[in-house]
């Protein structure tokens, strides 16, 4: 899983996608979120998910702020993520700014599963064409 400019919607002005489909950065976020959930971290903040994506892709750099938070905002508006601000007291105890914590919703998990199915179908279609 690598992240290049073509995966960033902001750099792909000509790209128009069907409603309900996911672009790669959104898939990365949902996959990373679910992976964190499986490891016992049901919610995540922006920087944590950026780190998770970076580690998973073995990328040199973290996802840029604009790309990351725009995608998080889009996913939340689509119902694939839910978010809430953490308790101010907890942040105060740890002497840091409050975190906005996101969770992958059931809809988000379903959308990701659907995108995987579509991707597999497309891959098998390509293989069939190449073999023909």
């Amino acid at each position: 899983m690598t992240l290049d400019n073509r995966k960033i919607s902001s750099y792909s002005f000509g790209v128009r996608r069907k409603p309900g489909t996911l672009i790669p950065i959104e898939q990365d976020i949902l996959e990373a979120g679910l992976a964190l959930s499986r490891r016992g971290e049901p919610s995540f903040h922006g920087f944590l998910i950026a780190k998770e994506i970076q580690d998973d892709a073995e990328a040199k750099r973290l996802t840029s702020h604009g790309t990351l938070y725009k995608a998080l905002d889009r996913l939340e508006r689509a119902g694939h993520l839910a978010s809430q601000w953490e308790d101010p007291e907890e942040a105060a105890i740890q002497q840091r700014p409050r975190r906005r914590l996101y969770q992958v919703t059931v809809t988000g998990a379903q959308a990701l599963a659907k995108s995987h199915v579509v991707a597999r179908a497309a891959a098998s279609g390509r293989r069939a064409l190449e073999g023909a």
């Binding site: 960033i8 919607s9 902001s10 750099y11 903040h45 922006g46 920087f47 944590l48 950026a50 780190k51 750099r61 973290l62 996802t63 840029s64 702020h65 604009g66 790309t67 990351l68 938070y69 725009k70 905002d73 601000w85 840091r96 700014p97 409050r98 975190r99 906005r100």
Partner: protein, 224 residues
Amino acid sequence: MNDLLTSLAAGVARNWVAVYTLGLPPSVRDARRAELQSDLWEQRHEIRSGTSNSLAKGVLARVLGGVPADILWAIDVRHDQGGTAMRAFDGYEKTDKVVIFGITVTAALLASTTIGATALVSLLVAAVAAVGLAGLMRLVFPPTTGGRAMDSSATSSRGRRLLTTFVISIAVIMGIGAYLFSLEHWGGLAILLNIVGTVALLVALGSLSLFVVDLIRGERPTRS
């Protein structure tokens, strides 16, 4: 020194988010700023962050790489709020918009070329500078109802012209001075002077455009 670089990089990130969230609904604006503040804190305190120097570079790279997405996001939010991307210019006449956009983009392109940036970076700088300068113009020279600032009174018109002339004079002097000093290989200071000169030149060109618009309007026969 390295801590200073990190603080500067974080400052750039905070200032940038403050700029592109200007004019957004308070809840959206405050949420994005707080989220970015949290992200910066987390990155700074991340155990595996390496040296402060690399941290500063990392923060700057994340800011610069996300500029297009930030701008598009802000436009989307404004659009969703019932406005349009061009709402900030609704009070201007069509010719004003063309003049402001044209001059700021050209000026930004020229300025970024003097810094020695690549073509892509120049375009990014141009776009950001155009949006930023147009917003600045809106704050400094708010258009009156109907876009007829010249009609309000002869006194305010005269004051505006004087102010514009003053800004042009100071900005041009600063810009040229900064450019001349930068030729002497003053290291970091030369870069700073270049940036100051660039900003001054942008302001000068923007002010000049409004000044010219005022002059043109002042000659219209329909003016009272």
